[in-house]
Protein backbone atom coordinates (compact mmCIF):
# COMPACT_ATOMS: atom_id res chain seq x y z
CA UNK A 1 0.00 0.00 0.00
CA UNK A 2 1.20 3.52 -0.77
CA UNK A 3 2.02 5.64 2.24
CA UNK A 4 3.46 9.12 2.33
CA UNK A 5 4.34 10.13 5.87
CA UNK A 6 3.99 13.88 5.35
CA UNK A 7 0.22 13.54 5.40
CA UNK A 8 -1.24 13.78 8.91
CA UNK A 9 -4.64 12.56 10.10
CA UNK A 10 -6.03 16.03 9.34
CA UNK A 11 -4.73 15.87 5.78
CA UNK A 12 -6.31 12.44 5.38
CA UNK A 13 -9.60 13.70 6.78
CA UNK A 14 -9.48 16.52 4.26
CA UNK A 15 -8.67 14.02 1.53
CA UNK A 16 -11.76 12.01 2.39
CA UNK A 17 -13.96 15.10 2.44
CA UNK A 18 -12.77 16.28 -1.00
CA UNK A 19 -12.92 12.76 -2.42
CA UNK A 20 -16.42 12.05 -1.13
CA UNK A 21 -17.64 15.40 -2.38
CA UNK A 22 -16.15 14.87 -5.85
CA UNK A 23 -17.33 11.28 -6.17
CA UNK A 24 -20.85 11.79 -4.83
CA UNK A 25 -21.80 15.33 -5.82
CA UNK A 26 -19.85 15.92 -9.02
CA UNK A 27 -18.87 12.70 -10.83
CA UNK A 28 -22.47 11.47 -11.35
CA UNK A 29 -23.10 14.62 -13.44
CA UNK A 30 -20.02 14.29 -15.63
CA UNK A 31 -21.75 13.25 -18.87
CA UNK A 32 -24.38 15.95 -18.60
CA UNK A 33 -22.01 18.77 -17.74
CA UNK A 34 -19.54 17.74 -20.42
CA UNK A 35 -22.36 17.69 -22.98
CA UNK A 36 -23.56 21.09 -21.80
CA UNK A 37 -20.04 22.45 -22.16
CA UNK A 38 -20.50 23.96 -18.71
CA UNK A 39 -21.00 22.89 -15.11
CA UNK A 40 -23.37 24.79 -12.81
CA UNK A 41 -22.18 27.88 -11.02
CA UNK A 42 -23.28 26.46 -7.66
CA UNK A 43 -20.26 24.17 -7.64
CA UNK A 44 -18.12 27.22 -6.81
CA UNK A 45 -20.48 28.16 -4.00
CA UNK A 46 -20.61 24.66 -2.56
CA UNK A 47 -16.86 24.15 -2.61
CA UNK A 48 -16.40 27.60 -1.12
CA UNK A 49 -18.72 26.74 1.76
CA UNK A 50 -16.72 23.59 2.45
CA UNK A 51 -13.57 25.72 2.67
CA UNK A 52 -11.93 23.92 -0.25
CA UNK A 53 -10.63 27.13 -1.88
CA UNK A 54 -9.03 28.48 1.27
CA UNK A 55 -6.63 25.75 2.36
CA UNK A 56 -3.49 27.88 2.42
CA UNK A 57 -5.03 31.32 2.84
CA UNK A 58 -4.88 32.97 6.24
CA UNK A 59 -7.91 32.86 8.50
CA UNK A 60 -8.51 36.62 8.36
CA UNK A 61 -9.52 36.38 4.69
CA UNK A 62 -11.61 33.28 5.30
CA UNK A 63 -8.96 30.63 4.68
CA UNK A 64 -7.82 27.82 6.92
CA UNK A 65 -4.16 28.71 7.30
CA UNK A 66 -3.05 25.21 6.32
CA UNK A 67 0.23 24.11 4.79
CA UNK A 68 0.85 23.27 1.13
CA UNK A 69 0.05 19.59 1.74
CA UNK A 70 -3.60 20.56 2.10
CA UNK A 71 -3.35 22.11 -1.33
CA UNK A 72 -1.72 18.91 -2.57
CA UNK A 73 -4.54 16.78 -1.16
CA UNK A 74 -7.13 18.97 -2.86
CA UNK A 75 -5.30 18.99 -6.20
CA UNK A 76 -4.97 15.21 -6.02
CA UNK A 77 -8.59 14.49 -5.16
CA UNK A 78 -10.27 16.87 -7.64
CA UNK A 79 -9.82 14.43 -10.57
CA UNK A 80 -12.22 12.08 -8.75
CA UNK A 81 -14.95 14.25 -10.25
CA UNK A 82 -14.01 12.61 -13.58
CA UNK A 83 -13.81 15.96 -15.38
CA UNK A 84 -10.39 17.53 -15.69
CA UNK A 85 -12.19 20.63 -16.94
CA UNK A 86 -13.97 21.09 -13.63
CA UNK A 87 -10.79 20.36 -11.70
CA UNK A 88 -8.98 23.00 -13.74
CA UNK A 89 -11.73 25.56 -13.15
CA UNK A 90 -11.48 24.99 -9.40
CA UNK A 91 -7.70 25.21 -9.41
CA UNK A 92 -7.89 28.51 -11.30
CA UNK A 93 -10.22 29.78 -8.58
CA UNK A 94 -8.08 28.66 -5.65
CA UNK A 95 -4.49 28.45 -6.86
CA UNK A 96 -3.99 30.34 -10.10
CA UNK A 97 -6.00 33.57 -10.15
CA UNK A 98 -5.98 34.35 -6.43
CA UNK A 99 -2.65 33.56 -4.64
CA UNK A 100 -1.05 36.71 -5.95
CA UNK A 101 -3.84 38.80 -4.34
CA UNK A 102 -2.98 37.26 -1.00
CA UNK A 103 0.71 37.90 -1.50
CA UNK A 104 0.72 41.50 -2.67
CA UNK A 105 -2.86 42.78 -2.45
CA UNK A 106 -4.02 45.54 -0.11
CA UNK A 107 -6.47 44.77 2.69
CA UNK A 108 -9.24 46.42 0.64
CA UNK A 109 -8.40 44.28 -2.39
CA UNK A 110 -8.41 41.12 -0.29
CA UNK A 111 -11.76 42.09 1.17
CA UNK A 112 -13.31 42.91 -2.20
CA UNK A 113 -11.87 40.07 -4.31
CA UNK A 114 -9.99 37.39 -2.40
CA UNK A 115 -12.42 36.76 0.47
CA UNK A 116 -15.49 36.33 -1.78
CA UNK A 117 -13.45 34.10 -4.12
CA UNK A 118 -12.51 31.87 -1.18
CA UNK A 119 -16.19 31.74 -0.19
CA UNK A 120 -17.04 30.76 -3.78
CA UNK A 121 -19.28 33.81 -4.20
CA UNK A 122 -17.16 35.49 -6.84
CA UNK A 123 -15.71 33.49 -9.71
CA UNK A 124 -12.09 34.32 -10.53
CA UNK A 125 -10.17 34.08 -13.80
CA UNK A 126 -6.55 34.68 -14.71
CA UNK A 127 -6.10 36.82 -17.79
CA UNK A 128 -2.60 36.65 -19.19
CA UNK A 129 -2.64 34.90 -22.59
CA UNK A 130 -3.51 36.82 -25.75
CA UNK A 131 -3.92 35.81 -29.38
CA UNK A 132 -0.41 37.09 -30.02
CA UNK A 133 1.28 36.07 -26.78
CA UNK A 134 1.06 32.81 -24.83
CA UNK A 135 4.44 31.42 -23.95
CA UNK A 136 5.90 34.83 -24.52
CA UNK A 137 4.16 36.56 -21.62
CA UNK A 138 6.20 39.73 -22.10
CA UNK A 139 4.73 39.99 -25.58
CA UNK A 140 1.25 40.97 -24.38
CA UNK A 141 -0.31 43.99 -26.04
CA UNK A 142 -3.37 44.77 -23.96
CA UNK A 143 -2.79 48.26 -22.61
CA UNK A 144 -3.69 50.07 -19.40
CA UNK A 145 -3.25 53.78 -19.78
CA UNK A 146 -3.23 56.05 -16.79
CA UNK A 147 -5.97 58.69 -16.95
CA UNK A 148 -6.19 60.81 -13.81
CA UNK A 149 -7.01 58.44 -10.99
CA UNK A 150 -8.07 55.67 -13.36
CA UNK A 151 -6.61 53.29 -15.89
CA UNK A 152 -8.18 52.79 -19.31
CA UNK A 153 -7.83 49.22 -20.53
CA UNK A 154 -7.89 48.20 -24.19
CA UNK A 155 -7.09 44.91 -25.80
CA UNK A 156 -7.93 41.24 -25.97
CA UNK A 157 -7.30 38.03 -24.02
CA UNK A 158 -7.89 34.47 -25.12
CA UNK A 159 -8.07 30.90 -23.78
CA UNK A 160 -9.22 32.26 -20.44
CA UNK A 161 -10.56 29.57 -18.10
CA UNK A 162 -13.76 30.59 -16.24
CA UNK A 163 -13.73 33.47 -18.71
CA UNK A 164 -17.38 33.46 -19.77
CA UNK A 165 -18.74 33.95 -16.24
CA UNK A 166 -15.92 35.26 -14.07
CA UNK A 167 -16.83 38.07 -11.69
CA UNK A 168 -13.32 39.40 -11.78
CA UNK A 169 -10.12 38.79 -13.68
CA UNK A 170 -6.58 38.97 -12.37
CA UNK A 171 -5.47 40.75 -15.49
CA UNK A 172 -2.10 41.46 -17.04
CA UNK A 173 -1.86 44.64 -19.11
CA UNK A 174 0.87 46.82 -20.47
CA UNK A 175 1.37 50.13 -18.65
CA UNK A 176 4.51 51.03 -20.58
CA UNK A 177 4.67 50.20 -24.29
CA UNK A 178 8.45 50.63 -24.44
CA UNK A 179 9.56 48.47 -21.53
CA UNK A 180 9.11 44.80 -22.50
CA UNK A 181 9.47 43.23 -19.03
CA UNK A 182 9.13 46.26 -16.78
CA UNK A 183 6.08 47.62 -18.58
CA UNK A 184 3.53 45.05 -17.48
CA UNK A 185 1.17 45.52 -14.53
CA UNK A 186 -1.49 43.41 -12.85
CA UNK A 187 -5.04 44.59 -12.22
CA UNK A 188 -8.09 43.23 -10.47
CA UNK A 189 -10.71 43.73 -13.14
CA UNK A 190 -14.44 43.50 -12.28
CA UNK A 191 -16.26 42.07 -15.29
CA UNK A 192 -19.21 44.41 -14.89
CA UNK A 193 -16.95 47.23 -16.06
CA UNK A 194 -18.49 48.96 -19.12
CA UNK A 195 -16.63 48.17 -22.35
CA UNK A 196 -15.87 44.57 -21.33
CA UNK A 197 -17.25 41.79 -23.53
CA UNK A 198 -16.99 38.02 -23.63
CA UNK A 199 -16.51 36.62 -27.12
CA UNK A 200 -16.99 33.05 -28.17
CA UNK A 201 -16.71 30.20 -25.77
CA UNK A 202 -13.97 28.20 -27.46
CA UNK A 203 -14.68 24.61 -28.55
CA UNK A 204 -11.88 22.38 -27.33
CA UNK A 205 -10.76 18.78 -27.82
CA UNK A 206 -11.05 18.18 -24.07
CA UNK A 207 -11.95 19.78 -20.73
CA UNK A 208 -15.42 20.17 -22.18
CA UNK A 209 -17.31 21.23 -19.07
CA UNK A 210 -14.97 24.17 -18.55
CA UNK A 211 -15.62 27.45 -20.30
CA UNK A 212 -12.59 28.83 -22.09
CA UNK A 213 -13.26 32.24 -23.52
CA UNK A 214 -12.03 35.14 -25.55
CA UNK A 215 -12.32 38.46 -23.74
CA UNK A 216 -12.47 41.97 -25.17
CA UNK A 217 -11.65 45.24 -23.44
CA UNK A 218 -12.71 48.49 -25.06
CA UNK A 219 -11.96 51.67 -23.14
CA UNK A 220 -12.61 49.92 -19.83
CA UNK A 221 -12.11 52.38 -17.01
CA UNK A 222 -10.90 50.96 -13.69
CA UNK A 223 -9.89 52.99 -10.64
CA UNK A 224 -6.21 52.85 -9.70
CA UNK A 225 -7.08 51.10 -6.44
CA UNK A 226 -7.53 48.01 -8.61
CA UNK A 227 -3.86 48.05 -9.57
CA UNK A 228 -2.37 44.98 -7.87
CA UNK A 229 1.02 45.63 -6.29
CA UNK A 230 3.38 48.01 -8.02
CA UNK A 231 2.98 49.37 -11.51
CA UNK A 232 5.51 47.74 -13.81
CA UNK A 233 6.14 44.72 -11.62
CA UNK A 234 3.46 42.56 -13.29
CA UNK A 235 5.82 40.28 -15.20
CA UNK A 236 7.60 39.27 -12.01
CA UNK A 237 4.33 38.75 -10.15
CA UNK A 238 3.14 36.49 -12.97
CA UNK A 239 6.34 34.45 -12.89
CA UNK A 240 6.02 34.14 -9.11
CA UNK A 241 2.37 33.14 -9.41
CA UNK A 242 3.22 30.51 -12.02
CA UNK A 243 5.10 28.48 -9.40
CA UNK A 244 2.00 27.54 -7.43
CA UNK A 245 0.01 27.09 -10.65
CA UNK A 246 2.53 24.66 -12.12
CA UNK A 247 2.89 22.81 -8.86
CA UNK A 248 -0.83 22.07 -8.58
CA UNK A 249 -0.81 21.18 -12.27
CA UNK A 250 1.85 18.54 -11.63
CA UNK A 251 0.05 17.19 -8.56
CA UNK A 252 -3.38 17.00 -10.16
CA UNK A 253 -1.97 15.57 -13.39
CA UNK A 254 -0.20 12.73 -11.59
CA UNK A 255 -3.27 11.90 -9.50
CA UNK A 256 -5.56 12.00 -12.54
CA UNK A 257 -3.32 9.58 -14.42
CA UNK A 258 -3.11 7.32 -11.37
CA UNK A 259 -6.89 6.95 -11.31
CA UNK A 260 -6.82 5.81 -14.93
CA UNK A 261 -4.00 3.35 -14.22
CA UNK A 262 -5.87 1.94 -11.20
CA UNK A 263 -8.96 1.42 -13.35
CA UNK A 264 -6.85 -0.13 -16.06
CA UNK A 265 -5.36 -2.65 -13.64
CA UNK A 266 -8.84 -3.74 -12.61
CA UNK A 267 -9.91 -3.97 -16.23
CA UNK A 268 -6.88 -6.06 -17.20
CA UNK A 269 -7.51 -8.45 -14.32
CA UNK A 270 -11.11 -9.01 -15.40
CA UNK A 271 -10.99 -8.84 -19.18
CA UNK A 272 -10.13 -12.16 -20.76
CA UNK A 273 -8.52 -12.95 -24.09
CA UNK A 274 -7.23 -16.28 -25.36
CA UNK A 275 -8.51 -17.96 -22.21
CA UNK A 276 -6.80 -15.82 -19.62
CA UNK A 277 -7.07 -12.36 -18.08
CA UNK A 278 -5.03 -9.65 -19.82
CA UNK A 279 -2.72 -9.62 -16.80
CA UNK A 280 -1.97 -13.24 -17.70
CA UNK A 281 0.30 -11.89 -20.44
CA UNK A 282 3.72 -10.84 -19.29
CA UNK A 283 3.72 -7.94 -21.73
CA UNK A 284 0.65 -6.49 -19.98
CA UNK A 285 2.05 -6.92 -16.50
CA UNK A 286 5.30 -5.25 -17.45
CA UNK A 287 3.49 -2.39 -19.11
CA UNK A 288 1.45 -1.82 -15.95
CA UNK A 289 4.57 -1.92 -13.80
CA UNK A 290 6.27 0.62 -16.08
CA UNK A 291 3.30 2.95 -15.82
CA UNK A 292 3.07 2.63 -12.05
CA UNK A 293 6.81 3.28 -11.73
CA UNK A 294 6.64 6.35 -13.92
CA UNK A 295 3.79 7.80 -11.93
CA UNK A 296 5.59 7.09 -8.67
CA UNK A 297 8.56 9.05 -10.00
CA UNK A 298 6.22 11.89 -11.04
CA UNK A 299 4.61 11.90 -7.62
CA UNK A 300 7.91 11.82 -5.75
CA UNK A 301 9.30 14.72 -7.75
CA UNK A 302 6.06 16.67 -7.32
CA UNK A 303 6.13 15.99 -3.57
CA UNK A 304 9.74 17.11 -3.38
CA UNK A 305 8.79 20.33 -5.14
CA UNK A 306 5.81 20.70 -2.79
CA UNK A 307 8.08 20.29 0.22
CA UNK A 308 10.50 22.98 -0.97
CA UNK A 309 7.63 25.31 -1.85
CA UNK A 310 6.03 24.70 1.54
CA UNK A 311 9.27 25.57 3.33
CA UNK A 312 9.53 28.78 1.36
CA UNK A 313 12.72 27.57 -0.32
CA UNK A 314 13.53 28.27 -3.99
CA UNK A 315 11.63 25.62 -5.95
CA UNK A 316 11.51 26.91 -9.51
CA UNK A 317 13.86 24.17 -10.70
CA UNK A 318 11.91 21.31 -9.13
CA UNK A 319 8.49 22.74 -9.99
CA UNK A 320 9.49 23.25 -13.64
CA UNK A 321 10.85 19.70 -13.75
CA UNK A 322 7.72 18.27 -12.17
CA UNK A 323 5.45 20.17 -14.57
CA UNK A 324 7.57 18.99 -17.50
CA UNK A 325 7.76 15.38 -16.40
CA UNK A 326 4.10 15.02 -15.46
CA UNK A 327 2.89 16.79 -18.60
CA UNK A 328 4.62 14.23 -20.76
CA UNK A 329 4.25 11.11 -18.57
CA UNK A 330 0.53 11.51 -17.83
CA UNK A 331 -0.22 11.77 -21.53
CA UNK A 332 1.82 8.72 -22.45
CA UNK A 333 0.59 6.62 -19.55
CA UNK A 334 -3.06 7.34 -20.29
CA UNK A 335 -2.46 6.59 -23.96
CA UNK A 336 -1.14 3.16 -22.96
CA UNK A 337 -4.16 2.66 -20.69
CA UNK A 338 -6.37 3.40 -23.68
CA UNK A 339 -4.49 0.76 -25.67
CA UNK A 340 -4.96 -1.80 -22.89
CA UNK A 341 -8.71 -1.14 -22.95
CA UNK A 342 -8.91 -1.93 -26.66
CA UNK A 343 -12.22 -0.81 -28.16
CA UNK A 344 -13.44 0.02 -24.67
CA UNK A 345 -10.68 2.61 -24.58
CA UNK A 346 -11.89 4.33 -27.70
CA UNK A 347 -15.58 4.62 -26.85
CA UNK A 348 -17.04 7.44 -24.78
CA UNK A 349 -18.72 5.10 -22.29
CA UNK A 350 -15.34 3.61 -21.36
CA UNK A 351 -13.30 4.94 -18.45
CA UNK A 352 -10.37 6.29 -20.49
CA UNK A 353 -11.60 8.36 -23.42
CA UNK A 354 -12.34 11.57 -21.56
CA UNK A 355 -9.16 11.45 -19.48
CA UNK A 356 -7.17 10.80 -22.65
CA UNK A 357 -8.59 13.93 -24.30
CA UNK A 358 -8.35 16.08 -21.20
CA UNK A 359 -4.77 15.17 -20.37
CA UNK A 360 -3.50 16.52 -23.66
CA UNK A 361 -3.65 19.98 -22.10
CA UNK A 362 -1.10 19.22 -19.40
CA UNK A 363 1.96 19.84 -21.56
CA UNK A 364 0.49 23.08 -22.94
CA UNK A 365 -1.47 24.97 -20.26
CA UNK A 366 0.35 26.87 -17.52
CA UNK A 367 3.51 26.95 -19.63
CA UNK A 368 4.39 24.39 -22.30
CA UNK A 369 6.94 21.60 -21.91
CA UNK A 370 9.28 23.56 -24.17
CA UNK A 371 9.01 26.61 -21.94
CA UNK A 372 9.77 24.43 -18.88
CA UNK A 373 12.89 23.28 -20.70
CA UNK A 374 13.82 26.88 -21.53
CA UNK A 375 13.51 27.82 -17.85
CA UNK A 376 15.59 24.83 -16.83
CA UNK A 377 18.26 25.55 -19.48
CA UNK A 378 18.63 29.01 -18.01
CA UNK A 379 18.79 27.70 -14.46
CA UNK A 380 21.48 25.25 -15.56
CA UNK A 381 23.44 28.03 -17.28
CA UNK A 382 23.43 26.15 -20.58
Amino acid sequence: MKKYPQFTDEHEMYRKAVRDYCEKELAPNAEEWEDNRLFPREVFKNMGELGFFGARYPEDVGGSGGDTWYTAVYAEELPRCKMAGLAMAMLVQSDMATPIINEIGSDEQKEEFLAPAIRGEKIAALGVSEPGAGSDVAGIRTTAKKDGDDYIINGQKTWITNGSRADFITLAARTDPDDRYGGISLFLFPTDTPGFAVGNKLEKIGNHCSDTAELFFENCRVPSRYLLGHEGAGFYYIMQNFQGERLVGALTGTAGAQIVVDNTIKYCQEREAFGRPLTGFQVTRHKIVDMETRLEACRTLSYHATDLFDRGLPAQREISMAKLMVGEAAMEVIDQCLQLHGGMGYVEEGPVARAWRDTRLLSIGGGTSEIMKEILSKLMNL
Partner: protein, 248 residues
Protein backbone atom coordinates in the same frame (compact mmCIF):
# COMPACT_ATOMS: atom_id res chain seq x y z
CA UNK B 1 -29.84 20.05 25.20
CA UNK B 2 -26.99 17.63 25.66
CA UNK B 3 -26.75 15.05 22.90
CA UNK B 4 -24.55 11.99 23.12
CA UNK B 5 -23.69 10.20 19.90
CA UNK B 6 -21.49 7.20 19.19
CA UNK B 7 -19.09 6.19 16.43
CA UNK B 8 -17.40 2.89 15.73
CA UNK B 9 -14.22 2.44 13.72
CA UNK B 10 -15.00 -0.35 11.27
CA UNK B 11 -13.27 -2.11 8.42
CA UNK B 12 -14.12 -0.57 5.07
CA UNK B 13 -17.33 -2.32 3.99
CA UNK B 14 -16.36 -1.96 0.32
CA UNK B 15 -13.27 -4.10 0.66
CA UNK B 16 -13.15 -7.81 -0.08
CA UNK B 17 -13.26 -9.59 3.28
CA UNK B 18 -10.76 -12.42 3.69
CA UNK B 19 -10.91 -14.91 6.53
CA UNK B 20 -7.83 -16.02 8.40
CA UNK B 21 -6.72 -19.59 7.65
CA UNK B 22 -7.50 -20.69 11.23
CA UNK B 23 -10.99 -19.12 10.93
CA UNK B 24 -10.44 -17.07 14.09
CA UNK B 25 -11.23 -13.77 12.44
CA UNK B 26 -10.83 -11.72 9.30
CA UNK B 27 -7.51 -10.69 7.83
CA UNK B 28 -6.86 -7.13 8.98
CA UNK B 29 -3.51 -6.64 7.29
CA UNK B 30 -3.65 -3.89 4.69
CA UNK B 31 -7.29 -3.20 5.51
CA UNK B 32 -8.65 0.35 5.50
CA UNK B 33 -10.83 1.61 8.32
CA UNK B 34 -13.55 4.21 8.40
CA UNK B 35 -16.45 5.49 10.47
CA UNK B 36 -19.42 3.11 10.56
CA UNK B 37 -21.77 4.59 7.98
CA UNK B 38 -24.88 4.36 10.21
CA UNK B 39 -22.97 6.38 12.80
CA UNK B 40 -22.47 9.09 10.21
CA UNK B 41 -26.26 9.46 10.12
CA UNK B 42 -26.32 9.50 13.90
CA UNK B 43 -23.64 12.19 14.14
CA UNK B 44 -25.35 14.27 11.45
CA UNK B 45 -28.68 14.06 13.30
CA UNK B 46 -27.04 15.00 16.59
CA UNK B 47 -25.46 18.09 15.00
CA UNK B 48 -28.70 19.04 13.25
CA UNK B 49 -30.58 18.81 16.56
CA UNK B 50 -27.96 20.93 18.27
CA UNK B 51 -28.22 23.53 15.50
CA UNK B 52 -32.00 23.65 16.01
CA UNK B 53 -32.19 23.45 19.81
CA UNK B 54 -28.77 24.58 21.03
CA UNK B 55 -26.66 22.61 23.47
CA UNK B 56 -23.72 20.30 23.12
CA UNK B 57 -22.82 17.19 21.12
CA UNK B 58 -20.53 14.68 22.82
CA UNK B 59 -19.25 11.88 20.63
CA UNK B 60 -18.08 8.58 22.13
CA UNK B 61 -16.13 5.70 20.67
CA UNK B 62 -15.04 2.45 22.25
CA UNK B 63 -12.09 0.91 20.47
CA UNK B 64 -8.39 1.18 19.65
CA UNK B 65 -6.34 4.38 19.91
CA UNK B 66 -6.66 4.79 16.14
CA UNK B 67 -10.39 5.49 16.62
CA UNK B 68 -9.39 9.06 17.54
CA UNK B 69 -9.47 9.52 13.77
CA UNK B 70 -13.18 8.77 13.60
CA UNK B 71 -13.79 10.95 16.66
CA UNK B 72 -11.92 13.84 15.05
CA UNK B 73 -13.99 13.33 11.92
CA UNK B 74 -17.19 13.63 13.97
CA UNK B 75 -15.80 16.79 15.58
CA UNK B 76 -14.87 18.12 12.12
CA UNK B 77 -18.52 17.66 11.16
CA UNK B 78 -19.54 19.67 14.23
CA UNK B 79 -19.50 17.59 17.44
CA UNK B 80 -18.11 19.63 20.36
CA UNK B 81 -15.98 17.15 22.23
CA UNK B 82 -15.09 13.49 22.26
CA UNK B 83 -14.51 10.60 24.61
CA UNK B 84 -12.50 7.56 23.62
CA UNK B 85 -12.82 4.48 25.81
CA UNK B 86 -9.65 2.82 24.66
CA UNK B 87 -9.37 -0.94 24.29
CA UNK B 88 -7.91 -3.27 21.69
CA UNK B 89 -10.30 -6.05 22.69
CA UNK B 90 -13.10 -7.08 20.35
CA UNK B 91 -16.12 -6.31 22.51
CA UNK B 92 -19.51 -7.97 22.26
CA UNK B 93 -22.60 -5.75 22.15
CA UNK B 94 -23.34 -6.31 25.81
CA UNK B 95 -19.91 -5.08 26.90
CA UNK B 96 -20.23 -2.04 24.64
CA UNK B 97 -23.62 -1.26 26.16
CA UNK B 98 -22.25 -1.56 29.71
CA UNK B 99 -19.33 0.75 28.91
CA UNK B 100 -21.72 3.24 27.33
CA UNK B 101 -24.04 3.05 30.34
CA UNK B 102 -21.16 4.22 32.54
CA UNK B 103 -20.32 7.07 30.16
CA UNK B 104 -23.99 8.06 30.13
CA UNK B 105 -23.95 8.03 33.94
CA UNK B 106 -21.14 10.57 33.90
CA UNK B 107 -22.42 12.73 31.07
CA UNK B 108 -26.17 12.64 31.74
CA UNK B 109 -27.26 13.48 28.18
CA UNK B 110 -30.84 14.33 27.27
CA UNK B 111 -30.79 12.08 24.25
CA UNK B 112 -28.51 9.42 22.77
CA UNK B 113 -28.32 8.99 19.01
CA UNK B 114 -26.55 5.91 17.66
CA UNK B 115 -26.23 4.11 14.34
CA UNK B 116 -28.75 1.29 14.11
CA UNK B 117 -25.94 -1.21 13.59
CA UNK B 118 -22.25 -1.39 12.76
CA UNK B 119 -21.50 -2.44 9.20
CA UNK B 120 -18.70 -4.79 10.28
CA UNK B 121 -20.51 -7.10 12.71
CA UNK B 122 -24.05 -6.10 11.63
CA UNK B 123 -25.48 -7.05 15.02
CA UNK B 124 -27.92 -4.18 15.66
CA UNK B 125 -28.06 -4.82 19.40
CA UNK B 126 -26.16 -2.16 21.30
CA UNK B 127 -28.81 0.61 21.37
CA UNK B 128 -31.44 -1.87 22.56
CA UNK B 129 -29.23 -3.43 25.26
CA UNK B 130 -28.17 0.04 26.42
CA UNK B 131 -31.87 0.96 26.69
CA UNK B 132 -32.44 -1.93 29.07
CA UNK B 133 -29.39 -1.16 31.24
CA UNK B 134 -30.38 2.49 31.55
CA UNK B 135 -34.07 1.71 31.71
CA UNK B 136 -34.61 4.42 29.09
CA UNK B 137 -37.15 4.36 26.27
CA UNK B 138 -35.81 3.68 22.79
CA UNK B 139 -36.88 4.32 19.22
CA UNK B 140 -34.82 2.30 16.76
CA UNK B 141 -34.38 2.55 12.95
CA UNK B 142 -35.27 6.24 12.81
CA UNK B 143 -35.89 7.94 9.47
CA UNK B 144 -37.23 11.14 11.08
CA UNK B 145 -36.66 12.76 14.46
CA UNK B 146 -38.45 15.71 16.03
CA UNK B 147 -37.84 16.91 19.56
CA UNK B 148 -40.46 18.92 21.42
CA UNK B 149 -41.16 19.60 25.11
CA UNK B 150 -38.98 16.82 26.46
CA UNK B 151 -40.34 14.23 24.02
CA UNK B 152 -38.93 12.79 20.80
CA UNK B 153 -41.29 11.95 17.97
CA UNK B 154 -39.53 9.37 15.85
CA UNK B 155 -40.57 8.03 12.45
CA UNK B 156 -39.29 4.45 12.24
CA UNK B 157 -38.56 2.02 9.42
CA UNK B 158 -40.35 -1.23 10.22
CA UNK B 159 -40.98 -4.38 8.20
CA UNK B 160 -43.50 -3.55 5.51
CA UNK B 161 -43.70 0.19 6.16
CA UNK B 162 -43.15 2.87 8.75
CA UNK B 163 -44.33 3.57 12.27
CA UNK B 164 -44.22 6.62 14.50
CA UNK B 165 -43.20 6.42 18.12
CA UNK B 166 -43.19 9.10 20.78
CA UNK B 167 -40.65 8.60 23.59
CA UNK B 168 -40.05 10.61 26.72
CA UNK B 169 -36.53 11.94 27.06
CA UNK B 170 -33.96 11.00 28.10
CA UNK B 171 -34.11 8.25 25.53
CA UNK B 172 -32.22 6.41 22.84
CA UNK B 173 -32.67 6.78 19.10
CA UNK B 174 -30.94 4.60 16.51
CA UNK B 175 -30.43 5.98 13.01
CA UNK B 176 -31.43 4.34 9.75
CA UNK B 177 -30.09 5.45 6.40
CA UNK B 178 -32.98 7.62 5.23
CA UNK B 179 -32.67 9.82 8.31
CA UNK B 180 -30.52 12.51 6.69
CA UNK B 181 -27.61 13.16 4.39
CA UNK B 182 -24.42 13.38 6.44
CA UNK B 183 -22.54 16.59 5.71
CA UNK B 184 -19.01 16.68 4.38
CA UNK B 185 -16.43 17.83 6.88
CA UNK B 186 -15.40 21.36 5.86
CA UNK B 187 -11.74 22.27 5.93
CA UNK B 188 -12.24 24.91 8.65
CA UNK B 189 -14.16 22.23 10.56
CA UNK B 190 -11.22 19.83 10.24
CA UNK B 191 -8.80 22.49 11.46
CA UNK B 192 -11.06 23.33 14.41
CA UNK B 193 -11.47 19.65 15.32
CA UNK B 194 -7.76 19.49 16.07
CA UNK B 195 -8.29 21.84 18.98
CA UNK B 196 -11.48 20.34 20.40
CA UNK B 197 -11.16 18.33 23.62
CA UNK B 198 -10.75 14.57 23.39
CA UNK B 199 -10.76 12.65 26.66
CA UNK B 200 -9.32 9.14 26.77
CA UNK B 201 -10.57 6.61 29.34
CA UNK B 202 -10.27 2.85 29.68
CA UNK B 203 -12.96 0.31 30.58
CA UNK B 204 -11.08 -0.06 33.89
CA UNK B 205 -11.47 3.67 34.60
CA UNK B 206 -15.19 3.14 34.22
CA UNK B 207 -15.15 -0.04 36.33
CA UNK B 208 -16.51 -2.20 33.51
CA UNK B 209 -15.48 -5.81 33.03
CA UNK B 210 -15.40 -6.25 29.26
CA UNK B 211 -14.88 -10.02 29.26
CA UNK B 212 -17.14 -11.30 26.46
CA UNK B 213 -20.34 -13.18 27.14
CA UNK B 214 -20.62 -14.12 23.50
CA UNK B 215 -17.89 -16.30 22.09
CA UNK B 216 -17.33 -16.46 18.34
CA UNK B 217 -16.35 -20.02 17.51
CA UNK B 218 -15.22 -19.54 13.97
CA UNK B 219 -15.61 -17.45 10.83
CA UNK B 220 -16.60 -18.94 7.49
CA UNK B 221 -16.95 -17.35 4.10
CA UNK B 222 -20.37 -17.67 2.49
CA UNK B 223 -20.67 -19.88 -0.54
CA UNK B 224 -19.48 -18.19 -3.75
CA UNK B 225 -22.40 -16.76 -5.65
CA UNK B 226 -22.90 -18.38 -9.04
CA UNK B 227 -23.09 -16.45 -12.28
CA UNK B 228 -26.35 -14.71 -13.17
CA UNK B 229 -28.66 -15.97 -15.89
CA UNK B 230 -30.64 -14.04 -18.48
CA UNK B 231 -34.29 -15.04 -18.76
CA UNK B 232 -36.42 -14.51 -21.86
CA UNK B 233 -39.34 -12.57 -20.41
CA UNK B 234 -41.23 -11.71 -17.25
CA UNK B 235 -43.38 -14.85 -17.39
CA UNK B 236 -40.29 -16.98 -17.57
CA UNK B 237 -38.83 -15.08 -14.62
CA UNK B 238 -41.93 -15.61 -12.50
CA UNK B 239 -42.08 -19.31 -13.33
CA UNK B 240 -38.44 -19.82 -12.49
CA UNK B 241 -38.77 -17.90 -9.20
CA UNK B 242 -41.77 -20.10 -8.34
CA UNK B 243 -40.60 -23.48 -9.52
CA UNK B 244 -36.81 -23.42 -9.25
CA UNK B 245 -35.90 -20.83 -6.66
CA UNK B 246 -39.19 -21.35 -4.75
CA UNK B 247 -39.12 -17.82 -3.37
CA UNK B 248 -42.61 -16.76 -4.46
Amino acid sequence: MKILTTVKRVTDPDMKVRIQPDQSGIVTEGVEYKMNSFDEYGVEEAITLKEAHGGEVVVVSIGPGAATKELRTAMAMGADRAILVETDADLDSDAVARVLAEVVGREEPDVIIMGKQAVDSDRSQTPQILGSYLNWPQATFAYKVEIEDGWAVVGREVDGGTATKRIKLPGIISADLRLNEPRYASLPGIMKAKRKPLETLTPDDLGVDIAPKVKVLNYEAPEERGAGEMVDDVDDLINRLKDEARVI
